[in-house]
Symmetry: C5
Subunit: 264 residues, 5 copies
């Protein structure tokens, strides 16, 4: 799981819960009917807006975004360089046993195509289509999360309006006014909380992860093409390092000089 | 009818109605003058904004979006492949009896043009114009629904202001204050409800349906062109499968391997 | 006058007035100082924002948008076809008496250029410049109306703030509180009413009318060019029908089949 | 000074002041600490956002926008035509005494370059760079004014929050509540007033003036190039009239027919 | 440190603090739990939205933006001209001792490449990559600050909702109502303050600084290329002055005439 997300979720919930508990009425903040109005309304609007297929795909997309580890870029470069060395020395078929330990399904598929002796163009076409499809799923997930981030406060407001109208009917009992307004405001709180600590940031993370994953996938494609063409390890390394930004390159090639990192 | 829309509308209304009934004053929430202000004001603004023709077309467009079933893509591919086989074997005229059972009017029109022996270019020109016109109608419907989604809360606020000013005139009777404010807030509730559970999600669904329908229509066009050109079933299948995304392709061609579906 | 606008304005005002009268304090809602703040402030901001020339031109532009009747497209096609037949048979000069009854000044100008025997390129250049200038005026009017639609609620809020501050000074007289707040809220009501029922929808209508008028004008240009070139009625009809969308074409050429209208 | 701006500022201030005075507590509305929070906060945010150079340049830019008179376009055409006639007849040097009375510094510079016998390309390069730089300053000024228009209401709200928190501390003295809330709301009033009657409309005017000034400057450039090339008055007039829109052209060439002005 | 930022921060804080102290309850405005909710919530949302690497990089980027002095453009032109003169006269190696006093790491790197005798293309490629990477970091920092500027008021509202709900539970003790609402509003104040005086203006400054720094860096690149090519001081000066806008050029070349500065 992405470390920043873990820290963010943990700290965010801690801050909000501490503020609630510090106020002394924590029990008040768990109000099932209010949760139903906000979450139910939001999900309903999402289902009306999108198709069922799109909405159901959002869960695996978010889960993979948060929990799947991408191979780090330097590691990936090293792996591809190793594969190219093996392939150069012993032929593509010799990669068979190397790819046995690959976890990442995309990398596995790419290397299998190399081992199967497919042509570069076939590899590029097949993998590029997969990348485009991946981006589409991410884009789709981002749009749904952003819609949820807009719908949650709206249904929070709808819930508060229902609560206020109900409360205003019963003004004859003054002791109930405070209680009624408190309950009415809870839905607005839920809506603001869900939107600002869950949906909007998650949509952002999905966008950032999509860029990273696309980059990593494109490195795999370039590496696989290089190996399929029979390029040597040096050429493959050069091919892949064009993808890595100056700063990261330095991180694992410290020989290139240090003044670069000071120019911010 | 689109299954997600059914679920969404049902759940959304259930959540909101449950919250209202749970508050104990459900009767209060049906207030005819308030409905008139919000719905009447919104429709009036829509009529001033758009032309009468555009506004009247919105109802069939939305109805078709929700209730017309599109042929599923794999089914469509299969149908076109069958037609091309028949046409290859027995000539285009032999399709006459096949197209008798076609429900979809667009597919019917396309196949009739093929049976009539029209040239590929004529078929493409005529059907592309139809697709462009279809998109224009969808685009138009989406804009109107989005305008309604913005106008509904605005007229909700206008209604609430009228209610508040009226109520503030009669402060001498304190027992009426709560009642007056409750009535005033009802219009804001109507506006928020209509916008967030009806117009905004419907506009979104129309956009998504428009993309799907355009894609399906383009597959029909490509298929019809292929059959008119006298292409065999295999070529037609290839032509059409370029339109179907990787994931869906797998769903009905499970032989292509499973690792693809894991790369999210 | 555009029929949708008439219905919209009539219904909108009826709904709002009914809601006000139903509340029982209709007199309250006509408050001259509040009208002055909202309308005066909005007009002042508009004058500071735009130049005097632009603001003064908005009235004729809106008036023409609402009250000038455009020739309907089928009628226009028929007229141009007739003119081309006359011109083909008796020469361009014979059109002199036909154009005597033309109401539309743009069509009149175009036909006069044809009668005067001007060349196609001169006709196209002169009329295209006129169309561009027409679009610019519409664009300009739309921008001003949209600015007014944003300024009206802002000055409504300013008026409410003035009213609230004034009212809060005199809290010692409790009977005046309700009255004071009611007066304060009136400006917000005016601002919301003007923006949502007048300026924003009018700006939209202007945009839609601009598209329609541009299309009609372009049909006139194409027709005039055709006649000036000496094209026959059939060619001119074809030239112009390319501008009319599939649906409309059907409406006056019902022989083309009915399945088209079902494909929504 | 632009006449619309004078009218707008005068009417706007009159409306607001009349509303304030009509309420009977005008003195209340001048509250120095509130002015400091809103204006000071807004200026501080502007200084943090932009560089000092950019912020200081805003005053001369706005002053020139409001007070510098541009030569009217027909006048400019006439002047350039006269200069070209003189230059044609007596040589460029003869323009020396004509340009003595030129007020507009840009026109003066352009004509000096002509008198100095510089080549057309040098004139075009130098003056185009000046125009680009002028647009950049206008663009810059517009952005700052728009930022101020967004910052003023924000600091109005911050001031109101400070006032409310302070007031809520002293609820024990009920007579101070109204006074406290009134003071708190004053900053929101200042923010809304400054944004909607000053900054947002001024930013708009700057944009419109920028377009006009660019057009006028480009006419000067074209005129100067024409004169430097030795073109006769007729050619220069034609060159410049291409810049003037159809309507304006009519205004001083009424011979071209009147039906144009009716086609709105 | 950028002088405008110093003035802005100083004045902004002074205005706000003066307003708070003037209200007489300054102690109230420092409320640790409220600070925790707003700042903690905002940082958590930022961590969920962006990756850890991006968020950590924001601090050095902002620090450099505010505190690193860029060489002024005229100074930079002069330096590059001097280096080119030395290089012309004594060869590139003679620059070795000149570059010893260079503070700016980017300029230092560029001149070292020149001294090392690298080719122009290699210099351009390496430095352009560095500039692109610099822009990416700035862009990234700007996005994070803008997100923080949107998240701070949102968490301010969440804190206020928590405070209100808590306060409304305890309406039985009327003396606590004012205190409770005051505490509840503090978080909204923090959010508005942080967004409008810190994050939004800082994001703007970062954008403006990014443009300036990119321009300065590009001047260094052009200068280094010129020196590497062996161009003389005059050519190098011309190369670099193309980057400096008309107004600035005048500031240190007053001989070019004064009327330019009046044409605003």
């Amino acid at each position: 799981m992405d470390i920043a997300t873990i820290i963010g979720v943990f700290c965010g919930f801690t801050c909000i819960i501490a503020a609630i508990v510090g106020g002394g009425c924590a029990a008040m903040f768990i109000h099932i009917p209010s949760i139903l109005v906000v979450v139910g309304g939001m999900l309903s609007a999402t289902l009306i807006h999108f198709s069922l297929g799109q909405v159901l795909k959002i869960i695996p997309v978010v889960k993979k975004t948060l929990f799947c580890k991408l191979p780090t870029q330097p590691q990936l470069v090293q792996d591809m360089v190793n594969y190219s060395a093996v392939s150069r020395r012993d032929g593509a078929l010799a990669l068979e046993q190397n790819i046995a330990d690959i976890d990442d399904p995309f990398l596995l598929k790419a290397m299998r195509m190399v081992v199967d002796g497919q042509e570069e163009e076939a590899i590029e076409t097949a993998l590029d289509a997969e990348i485009r499809y991946l981006q589409e799923r991410h884009q789709n997930g981002k749009k749904i999360l952003e819609f949820m981030g807009a719908a949650a406060p709206a249904f929070g407001m709808i819930g508060t309006l229902i609560g206020l109208v109900t409360m205003l009917q019963n003004l004859s009992d003054p002791s109930g006014i405070g209680q009624g307004m408190a309950v009415a405001l809870i839905t607005t709180f839920y809506g603001a909380f869900l939107a600002n600590l869950v949906f909007i940031p998650l949509a952002g993370k999905l966008g950032i992860r999509s860029k990273q994953e696309t980059l990593t996938r494109e490195m795999v494609v370039q590496g696989a093409i290089g190996i399929a063409k029979g390029e040597g390890p040096t050429v493959v390394r050069e091919r892949l390092q064009a993808f890595i930004s100056a700063k990261n390159r330095e991180d694992f090639k410290p020989s290139m000089g240090g003044q670069q990192s000071q120019a911010a």
